[in-house]
Symmetry: C2
Subunit: 185 residues, 2 copies
């Protein structure tokens, strides 16, 4: 099967980051698709390993759903920051730890059919206590969670974000394949 | 730690589904948060088991990223449809199969801090060939993928959607805990 990208014959700006694309697919079919362009520099979601096999979850007010949600430390990348710098800053603001070693495992998309938003999945090791003042209205609850107990988290109503669940499973599988990643060697 | 929800003192409609909430947290802190209300009835993402341990991926043009993406069958729930009806229709439109047994494993959120969008994760078993005409401009490529090879998919640039990666891992773990789920018993 050929996967020649559709030709973009035109883009109409609809304001607020929305645009309409006039597309022609390789089979000659025409379609008008809408998409939402992201503002900013993307985001980070952080799997912070506090001890072997244990990572740090947060419980935070989620305005979209108007409820408290379990999830992972995360946030936007500020202007001038790398994804790793943003991850370390968010860790310090949200869970009160810095990390001596951080790495991007991959980038994740939100809704690739409609948005170009990207989130860098950052694995953080070798934590040390350090708190930075953030803009949180109240301290976040921090919960250590065993990676071998993801089956008890994955159907939990209170932990609903697909991106964060994916990050936990990916990190667990990656750590199983890279058992020396967490060591100081 | 108390988790008393913030009080909503007011909501300002910003148009296009956006609104601004005047919040007071339980510690007395005041904040103004924005959120995006979803239109429609939510969405479904489908893990379709074609044979034991094998599920069906799709490759489809993703307008948000202007590239072809590996992912899962998915779509919006039409007015009057249940999530299971929507899942079966999308399966027929996107991969050319119906399912005799479908169940919702859980609902997933996209960005709970900002959006109220929900996606129902549907597990589909006992497939049979049936194609419905959808609005796709070109047929989707369908790829069977072994669930025990998710480690080869999870870092693949071409499969980037967090929600779909979460769905695959959750379905794999759920099936491991419910080995009779796929049988006709």
């Amino acid at each position: 099967m050929t996967l020649r990208l559709p030709t973009i014959h035109g883009i109409t700006d609809l304001g607020e980051g929305r645009e309409e694309l006039q597309l022609e697919f390789s089979n000659g079919e025409h379609r008008v698709y809408r998409r939402q362009r992201a503002r900013g520099n993307g985001a980070v979601v952080i799997v912070a390993v506090s001890e072997p096999g244990v990572v740090l979850l947060t419980r935070e007010y989620a305005c979209g759903l108007h409820r408290y949600e379990l999830g992972l430390p995360r946030g936007r990348i500020d202007d001038g920051e790398t994804p790793l710098q943003a991850a370390n800053r968010e860790l310090k603001e949200e869970v009160g730890f810095g990390a001596r070693r951080l790495q991007v495992l991959r980038t994740l998309s939100l809704v690739p059919s409609y948005m170009d938003h990207v989130t860098h999945l950052v694995l953080a090791h070798d934590l040390y206590p350090e708190r930075l003042a953030g803009d949180e209205p109240e301290p976040l609850e921090v919960l250590p969670w065993r990676l071998d107990a993801l089956d008890q988290l994955m159907l939990c109503d209170e932990f609903s974000e697909g991106r964060a669940l994916a990050a936990l499973f990916i990190a667990r599988e990656w750590l199983a394949h890279n058992p020396d990643a967490g060591s100081d060697a």
